[in-house]
């Protein structure tokens, strides 16, 4: 088969369709390490702009922390660059075991297995643990990787309305004939930054004999009093059966993920999870850096506390300025604009004011729910936040949306 003109035309047409819908993604080139102050080349070939980053998942500001970088260098020296193997053949080093033990302790579970990413963890865990006689019941706003993982599993797939505990209970009751009922949720939902009602979910799981799965990617390291995640925040540490999380956000921001939970479940992943069995081991340099990250955040809560302060300051500042923001406790703070064009225009204007924050609109978020998603970091200091708030205020004034609620914005700009 050659790459014929017909094939090329068909694929070009598809790309054209993506552009027409305004969904074409263009990469922006960051000239240096990930941190609050970055220099960005955008569009490609344009002179670099110095901007403050309000869209990274660098929650704890550890992506370029000198101690983490140093630990990664040391890991490179002592354990090499790559392992040229999957874990179970000859790709497991002492540091992999150390990191898995540290994650187990940090998350408050029985055991942990590393994956190349949390996307891979979510892709592998359901198929490894569940069978055709089981059912997965997922919140309708769980991350795309969970949905993909559910597709790879032979169990029945079902959903409940977002954070609707009555609906979840109906589904649990409906599926009492199944061998295993697995409730699936994100800890923090990446779209709105809201937290799962984990205590209520655990209570329902006990009532209806179900297991609980949560993806803590947007909470590990900073949600909860000591940053263990939403299960700590909700007082149900040790009661979650399966936790997946990433090393690619708060926990250093490089790559890698894990499944952590009941030891039999982790062992089944070690035996059966295909992304684990057929992917290379997580590189030693990443593992070494991640061990340092866990040492840094297990010892004290300074960075988590700073992030919490920054989040409160930012939320209050935006509210005082007259923006309509999604309420919540997480460092994901969506500024609601409802109209897709307005979200794009404001994101562009903010960029020209030195603020890097991205607009999201349908189909990534629901219709008439366009927003600019801002994300806070412990790397931000007050000056960053004040500059960001001033820029938001200026751009908000320009578009005449300060003090307006959903109804007024939609009346003015349309859905």
């Amino acid at each position: 088969m050659t790459y014929s003109a017909n094939i090329r035309a068909a694929l070009e047409q598809e790309l054209g369709g993506i552009k027409e819908k305004g969904l074409f993604k263009e990469e922006r080139f960051i000239l240096g390490p990930q941190k609050a102050d970055i220099s960005v080349e955008y569009p490609s070939g344009a002179p670099a702009s110095d901007v403050i980053n309000f869209c990274a998942n660098n929650y704890l500001g550890l992506s370029s922390h000198p101690d983490v970088v140093k630990a990664a260098h040391e890991g490179l020296e002592t354990h090499g660059y790559g392992m040229s193997s999957v874990r179970f053949i000859c790709g497991t080093q002492d540091i992999h075991r150390t990191l898995e033990q540290k994650l187990t302790e940090f998350l408050g579970t029985e055991d942990t297995i590393l994956f190349p990413s949390c996307m891979d963890a979510n892709a592998g865990v359901f198929e490894a643990v569940l069978g055709p006689e089981d059912v997965m019941i997922a919140d309708r706003l769980v991350h795309a990787s969970i949905i993909d993982g559910m597709r790879l599993c032979a169990s029945m797939r079902d959903t409940y309305k977002h954070s609707d505990m009555k609906h979840l209970e109906q589904k649990l009751e409906m599926h009492q004939d199944k061998r295993i009922r697995l409730i699936i949720t994100d800890g923090v939902f990446s779209m709105d930054g809201d937290l799962a009602k984990m205590d209520e979910i655990v209570a329902l799981a006990k009532k209806w004999d179900a297991m609980v799965f949560t993806d803590e990617s947007h909470s590990s390291g900073f949600i909860g009093k000591t940053g263990r995640g939403v299960h700590e925040h909700c007082g149900v540490m040790g009661e979650i059966d399966i936790i997946t999380t990433t090393l690619g956000k708060g926990l250093g921001g490089a790559s890698g993920g894990c499944v952590s939970g009941r030891k039999e479940i982790v062992e089944l992943c070690r035996q059966k999870a295909r992304p684990y069995l057929f992917s290379n081991t997580v590189a030693p340099v990443i593992v070494s850096g991640a061990i340092k990250v866990l040492d840094l955040i297990s010892g004290n809560t300074e960075r988590r506390d700073k992030l919490e302060w920054n989040t409160n300051y930012w939320r209050q500042g935006l509210t005082d300025a007259g923006f309509d923001i999604k309420k919540g406790d997480s460092p994901i703070v969506p500024v609601m604009l409802y109209n897709a064009k307005l979200a794009q225009d404001m994101s562009r204007d903010l960029y020209h004011e030195g603020i890097y924050a991205v607009g999201f609109f349908f189909p990534v978020v629901p219709q008439a729910a366009a927003r600019i998603r801002t994300q806070l970091s412990a790397d931000h200091d007050q000056a960053h936040l004040d500059k960001g708030l001033a820029a938001f205020k200026k751009v908000g004034e320009k578009h005449g949306i300060l003090g307006l609620g959903k109804k007024e914005i939609i009346e003015k700009f349309g859905k």
Partner: protein
Amino acid sequence: MNEPRTIKVEIPVCLDLPEDDLAVLRTTFETIITLVSGGCGGAEQHLRHLRDGGWDVNWGLTWIARARKDGAYEEATGGSKAEVLAQLDRLAGLHEVEGTP
């Protein structure tokens, strides 16, 4: 090779069948032909090959339902129309939005 033969059945004008019922009729006729012919595609040979390879093979007639919306696609198979549509309804819940990374 012979051209396939077709049978055209006129539906009386007085019979105001909804699209769903027409689909059932069409599927029923196709099923009868498939059952009579066995598919004419060397089914026995494939079956033998699978069993020689150690596969425990069984089969049956099934319903299939497909749903598309924009780029999303879901498919369900099962023993009844109600079952496959219930499955599709459940699966559609996974497509509320694409979500954010």
